[in-house]
C-alpha cells in the first residue's frame, strides 16, 4: 500500500537535540497547576470543585458541558482559585488552579482492567471518556466521540506516529520507551471498534522506533502493521496520513469516519492503555522542550496544567537571546506571549527559538507568482490567489478558492520565496467569511 499525498515540504528536522533523551519527570514539581476548562474541541467544561477543596491526582474536577471530555487534577493539593487565567491559545479562559502539596496522592474512580479482553465497546468508550482523553496530537478532539463516530463505519484504524513537525521528539521517545503499552492501547481501540487490523504510520526518520515496534509485534498475531513513510511535512496531518495509508481523501467538511478511517495519535493510544489497564486518567504527558532558545533541550513528563515558565525553567531556562516560545512545533505552533499560561492536553512540545532560527519578517513582500505555494499545498489549494483576494479585502471571493479547506499546515508560507504571510492572510479570510456568514444569519 503506497499512496503519496500531494505537495508538502521538507524543513530541516532539528530533532537531534532531543531524540536521544528519554522522557524524564521534572526535577522540581510545579507549585501550582492551572487547568483551563478548554483543552479540547468543543464547549468548555464546568468546574465541579470549589476554592478550598482538597483534590487527589486523577480526581475529576470538571465535567463537559456538551462536546468535550472531563478534566482531572494533575497534582494533589488544594484548589486555590477558580477564575479566568491566560490560555496558551490566547485570551483568558476559566481555569481551576490547584496548589501542589507535593505528595502526589493518587485517587481515581477508574478501575484498572489488566485484562481488557472482556470489555465491551460501550465499556471502553466509557473508560476513555471518564479518563478525559482527547486527541494528543494537537487538535484535541475528544477521543471517546471519535471512537463512537467510527463504530460500524471505520474499516481502517490508523495510529498517527508521523511526528512530522521539526524539533518534536516526544512521540518518538514514547515509542522507544513504551512500545508494548502503545500496542496494547492500539489493541484496545481495535477491540472497541471490532476491527482486526491497524496501521501505525511512522516517518522514516525514526527507523529505530519502527524497529522497536516491529520487534515487539514479532511472533504475535496482532493484526497491527507498522508503515515507515518517507519523511515529508505534513505527513502527520490527519487527512494527509489517511491519504498516505489508504489513498482515500476526506471530502471537504467531513470527518475521517466518512472515508471509513479512524485516526488516533500514538500518545492517545498510550493514554488509552493507561486508562483502561492501569485505571489512570489523563493527567500528564511527554513534552519536548527544544530549540536554540532553551539551555538544555530535553523531553519531560509534565503534569497537565503546569505553567509554561516552569517547564522552560526545568529545561535550564531560556537563553539570553531567546525571542520565541511556541506551544507546538515551528510549523503550526502558537507563539506565546505570557509564560504563566499552562500546557494543556494537546501540548506535545515547547519550541524556544532565537531570532536567527525564526522565519524573517519581510516588509512589503512582493508576490512573483512563482507558484511554489500551489506546488506545496497538500490540500490542492492556490494560496497565492487566496492571498491576493484577502489583501484586496475581497473576502467573499476567497470562497471560490476553497479557503475553508485549508488545514493551516504552513507549507505555502514556508516555501514562499517572497516571505508573504500566506497562512496569516488565509486565517484572516476564514475569520472574515465566518463573520459574513454570521451577519447574513442575523
Amino acid at each position: 500500500m503506497s499512496h503519496s499525498f500531494f505537495g508538502g515540504v521538507h524543513p530541516a528536522e532539528h530533532k537531534a537535540a532531543t531524540e536521544g533523551k528519554p522522557i524524564v519527570p521534572m526535577e522540581v514539581a510545579p507549585q501550582q497547576v492551572v487547568l483551563p476548562m478548554s483543552m479540547h474541541v468543543g464547549a468548555p467544561c464546568k468546574p465541579i470543585v470549589a476554592v478550598g477543596d482538597q483534590v487527589t491526582v486523577g480526581q475529576k474536577i470538571a465535567e463537559p458541558a456538551g462536546l468535550g471530555a472531563p478534566i482531572h487534577a494533575s497534582v494533589s493539593g488544594k484548589v486555590v482559585a477558580v477564575e479566568p487565567r491566560p490560555h496558551p491559545g490566547g485570551d483568558k479562559v476559566m481555569a481551576v488552579v490547584i496548589e501542589n502539596d507535593g505528595l502526589d496522592t493518587f485517587g481515581s474512580e477508574l478501575t484498572p482492567h489488566a485484562d481488557f479482553s472482556g470489555l465491551t465497546t460501550e465499556q471502553i468508550v466509557d473508560i476513555v471518556r471518564e479518563a478525559g482523553i482527547t486527541g494528543m496530537g494537537g487538535a484535541g478532539f475528544p477521543t471517546h466521540v471519535k471512537i463512537q463516530s467510527a463504530i460500524g463505519k471505520a474499516d481502517t484504524i490508523i495510529i498517527n506516529a508521523a511526528e512530522c513537525e521539526p524539533y518534536i521528539t516526544s512521540d518518538h521517545r514514547l515509542m522507544l520507551e513504551h512500545p508494548q503499552e502503545i500496542i496494547t492501547g492500539v489493541q484496545i481501540i481495535m477491540q472497541a471498534l471490532q476491527l482486526k487490523s491497524a496501521v501505525i504510520g511512522v516517518e522514516d526518520n525514526k527507523m529505530d522506533a519502527v524497529k522497536v515496534l516491529e520487534e515487539t509485534l514479532q511472533g504475535k498475531d496482532t493484526g497491527i502493521t507498522v508503515l515507515a513513510a518517507k519523511t515529508r511535512y505534513p505527513q502527520g496531518a490527519e487527512k494527509q496520513l489517511i491519504q498516505r495509508v489508504t489513498g482515500r481523501q476526506v471530502p471537504p467538511g467531513k470527518l475521517p469516519a466518512d472515508v471509513a478511517c479512524a485516526v488516533f495519535n500514538v500518545s492517545t493510544a498510550y493514554a488509552i492503555y493507561e486508562a483502561v489497564c492501569l485505571g489512570r486518567p489523563l493527567t500528564r504527558r511527554g513534552v519536548t522542550v527544544s530549540g536554540e532558545g532553551v539551555a538544555n533541550p530535553c523531553n519531560l513528563m509534565v503534569p497537565i496544567g503546569t505553567p509554561l515558565q516552569h517547564i522552560v525553567d526545568q529545561a535550564g531556562g531560556l537563553t539570553e537571546n531567546a525571542a520565541w516560545v511556541l506551544m507546538g512545533g515551528p510549523m503550526m505552533g502558537i507563539a506565546q506571549y505570557d509564560l504563566s499560561a499552562p500546557m494543556i492536553k494537546g501540548t506535545n512540545a515547547l519550541t524556544c527559538m532565537v531570532p536567527a532560527e525564526h522565519a524573517p519578517a519581510v516588509t512589503d513582500p512582493v508576490c512573483i507568482r512563482c507558484g511554489k505555494c500551489v506546488e506545496a499545498c497538500p490540500m490542492h489549494l492556490e494560496p497565492m490567489y487566496i492571498n491576493m483576494y484577502t489583501t484586496a479585502r475581497r473576502y467573499e471571493e476567497t470562497e471560490q478558492f476553497h479557503v475553508t479547506d485549508c488545514i493551516e499546515c504552513g507549507s505555502c508560507a514556508y516555501t514562499c520565496p517572497a516571505g508573504i504571510p500566506l497562512v496569516q492572510n488565509i486565517r484572516v479570510a476564514k475569520i472574515q467569511l465566518r463573520a459574513l456568514a454570521q451577519k447574513a444569519k442575523s
Binding site: V9, A12, K239, Q249, V250, P251, P252, K254, L318, E320, A322, A323, W324, L326, P330, M331, M332, G333, I334, A335, Q336, Y337, L339, M353, P355, H358, A359, P360, D364, V366, I368, R369, C370, G371, K372, V374, E375, C377, P378, M379, H380, L381, E382, Y385, H402, D405, E408, C409, G410, S411, Y414, T415, C416, P417, A418, G419, P421, V423, Q424, R427
Partner: protein, 339 residues
Amino acid sequence: MNNPLSVASSPHLSGKATTRSLMLDVLISLVPAMAAAVFFWGPRALVLTLVTVAACVVFEYAYRRLMKQTSSVGDLSACVTGVLLAFCLPANAPYWLAIIGAFFAIVIVKQLFGGLGKNFMNPALAARCFLFSYPTLMTTWAAPNNMLPVFGITDEYVSAVSTATPLANMHLATPVLPDATLTQMFVGQIGGCLGEVSAVMLIIGGIYLVTRKVISPRIPLCYIGTVAVLTFLFPRGGIDRLDWMLYSVLGGGLLLGAIFMATDYVTSPITKRGQVIYAIGCGLLTVFIRYFGSYPEGVSYSILVMNAFAWMFDKFGKPHRFGTPHFWEKSKAKEGAAK
C-alpha cells in the same frame, strides 16, 4: 529577561529560497550560454550584455526613486531582464539599441504596471518586439567565429560578416535545410541572437534550473514537445521529417524561449494544468507563425500572446479540490445512482 517575547502567525520557519536567490540562480544558469556567445563573437557579446544589464538596473532604480517607491534593485530581477534582453539581440547590435530596449522593458512593460510581479508580459520579450521598429538592426546577424570589435562597429563591417539564420533558410518559399550540420546546430555555430544559438549551453542552464527547483520542467518540455511533434508530423519542402524536426527545434530561439522566457514566473500560469495548456499553446503558435507568418521566427510573439492568457489558464487549470470526486468518478457515481 526575554521580555517581551515575539509573536507572529505560524509557520515560524521559512525555506532557504528567496526572490533574490531564485533570480541569482537564473543568472547562474545563463552563464553557459553567455560563455558560448563570448566564444563565438568575442568580448563584445559580454560587453553588450553588461550594458543592457546596467541600463536595466539604472532604469529600475531611477524610476522607483522618482516615483518615491522602495528600491527593488536588490531582488536582481532587473539583472535577469537585462541578460535575457541582451540574449535576444544580435551580438553586433549597437549599444544604444540595447539601452532603448532596456528602457522599454523596465519602465514601460514592468514598472508602469506596478513593478515585479505585476507585469503581464515578459519585459525582455516585449522589449525585443518593440526593437523590431529597427528591423535591419535586429535582423542582421554576424556569423559566429567573428571576433567583433568592442567599439566602432560599422554597418559595412556587419554586412560583410553577416549570415542568414537557419530559420531564414527554412522559411524560404521552398524551404531548405541550413548548411550547418546537426552538431553545429547543437553547439551553436550558426547565425542568430547572442544567447539563443548554443542549444547545448541552454540545456545545461535548464538542467541547472530544474535541479535547483527554480523551475519545473513542465513548461519547457510541453513547449518543445509540441513544436517537435508538429514539425515531425508536417515537414516542409520534402525534407526528411526527422531532420526537419531537429533543425526546427535547435534553430532560432525555441530553447531560449522555452527554458528561460516561457518559464518566467510572473507571466506564466501558477497551476500545473494551466502551465501545460500555456506551454502547448506556445508551441502551437510558434509553429503556426513559423509556417504561415511573414517572419521566420515565432517564439517571442507566441510567448507574449500566451502571457496575456496566463490568468485565464489558471482558471482552467484550477487544481482538483481535495476529497471531491474527479469528473470520471462523478459520471460513475451517477451511473451507480441510476442503477
